[in-house]
Amino acid sequence: MRMLINSAETVVADALRGMAAAHPELDVDVERRVIARRDAREGGRVGLVSGGGSGHEPLHGGFVGYGMLSAACPGEVFTSPVPDQMVRAAKVVDAGQGVLFVVKNYTGDVLNFDMAAELAEEDGIRVERMLVDDDVAVTDSLYTAGRRGTGATLFVEKIAGAAAEAGAPLDQVAAVARRVNGASRSFGVALSACTTPAKGSPTFDLPDGELELGVGIHGEPGRERRAMMSAREIAEFAVGAVLEDLAEVAPADGPVLALVNGMGATPLLELYGFHAEVTAVLAARGVPVARTLVGNYVTSLDMAGCSVTLCRADDEMLRLWDAPVQTPALRWGR
């Protein structure tokens, strides 16, 4: 166990205290586990609430602020938050225009957000819910819990957040969020497993010299194990998997928004080198890249690895992407 922690039990609470200290501009309720914009109810905007297990930072707490999330609910490490948190968040941010829950498609997240939506509506808050399910490593069939939500969450939260900031009503914010998700696909690769504070040892065994293709962001093993591949080969594989699936999204030749994401322990130096290969593969396949983000945004604790998310963005999405944002982890234009 090589962790910078006090104890496995207090990891999330400790991090929230740290968030509160580092970001006085945010309203961090350590007790109730809600991170909210201080000005969430000013201006009569639609509220944008997300949440999920901790361990994926900066997702979601790092995306709370002007032009992005109104509030985030961090669960225990890799464990969806409980309905009480989301209900509280909805109350804190609702300015009467309703609240959109951005939910990553995991059984736990879906069940807890559903319960929260029911409870919040009983309290008179209008709630819409949208599911992020962009991970092409999981087959969306009757025999799975459906595709997981991963990197596209960032695109959804940024773009829907910009729409909410601009004053769009709930149905439109929900609609653009769903459009972004529908146009986004991801694929992830692990070079090492991560270690959760509670377990204290890697969540799966990955022998040196092997990698997991199609890994999730919760330390779930991937669908296939292979001998180590070069950055170029991994880019070929991941971008190939994403593009194959993205072919069903019209227009098949539009520009993409690209997220080249680190899983946590992969140095930025390597991530940029990987991005060079991703760019080369996209160029070779004639896919124009409109915007790019390279960094650790949707992480999996100390897992080494990366994921690629592409979104076939239309003009509205690009305009909303470019709109100002001011959060701990994503900031431009302000």
Binding site: S80, G108, V138, A145
Partner: protein
């Protein structure tokens, strides 16, 4: 007839066994999940025990509803809403009688398991907690111990299954060969019930 204290003792016994077996549950959740099932349930049932020790409702139904609500508010993940619903729905079925018969309880638990199936959309054979709960409740007519044994058998029977629900389903074929953590904890839940009913705890 079973009074509120019986159900309180069931919950306390479950908290104890979950505490003892937490590491094993987390281990089982590692190869086909996200390595948190043990700590999830420990957090939940510790909270349930604390809540019931602080104030135990007078009716069996209220005890289980209180426990269920506590699980929902403290566990998170998939198992929080599912186990929370199991206990809440069972509690609701029991109504507000001060004492309930074993037969009433059996019917109520059956309804609780039905609610879990509806909420999660899983069917038997999908490699979930239902694969322990359904045979367990079916054997309740025989005895509490028989129910515990059947649930245990159901949990073991998940090993060769391919998961179709929950996080393990992402693994497809690779989920085969591992015992489902939720089915395992369901067997512990019914085992604790048998121990309490048998006067062992």
């Amino acid at each position: 007839m079973r009074d509120a204290d019986f159900f309180r003792r069931w919950m306390v016994a479950t908290a104890a066994v979950v505490e003892r077996e937490a590491d094993r549950l987390t281990e089982l959740d590692s190869p086909i999940g996200d390595a948190d099932h043990g700590s999830n349930l420990m957090r939940g049932f510790t909270a349930v025990r604390a809540a019931l020790n602080k104030d135990t409702p007078a009716a069996p139904g209220a005890v289980l509803q209180h426990a269920g609500r506590t699980l929902i508010s403290t566990v998170g993940g998939a198992s929080g809403p599912l186990y929370g619903t199991l206990l809440r729905r069972t509690g609701k079925e029991l109504g507000d009688a001060a004492e309930v018969s074993d037969e009433d309880f059996r019917g109520a638990l059956d309804a609780g398991v039905g609610a879990v199936a509806r909420l999660g959309g899983a069917a038997p054979g999908d490699k979930t907690m239902l694969d322990a709960l359904i045979p367990g409740v079916a054997a309740l007519g025989t005895s509490y111990r028989a129910a515990a044994d059947a649930a245990e058998g159901g949990a073991l029977a998940t090993v060769p299954m391919r998961a179709h629900k929950g996080r393990a389903s992402y693994l497809g074929e690779r989920s085969v060969g591992h015992q489902d953590p939720g089915a395992t904890s369901s067997a512990l839940l019914l085992g604790a019930l048998a121990d309490v009913a048998d006067g062992l705890l």
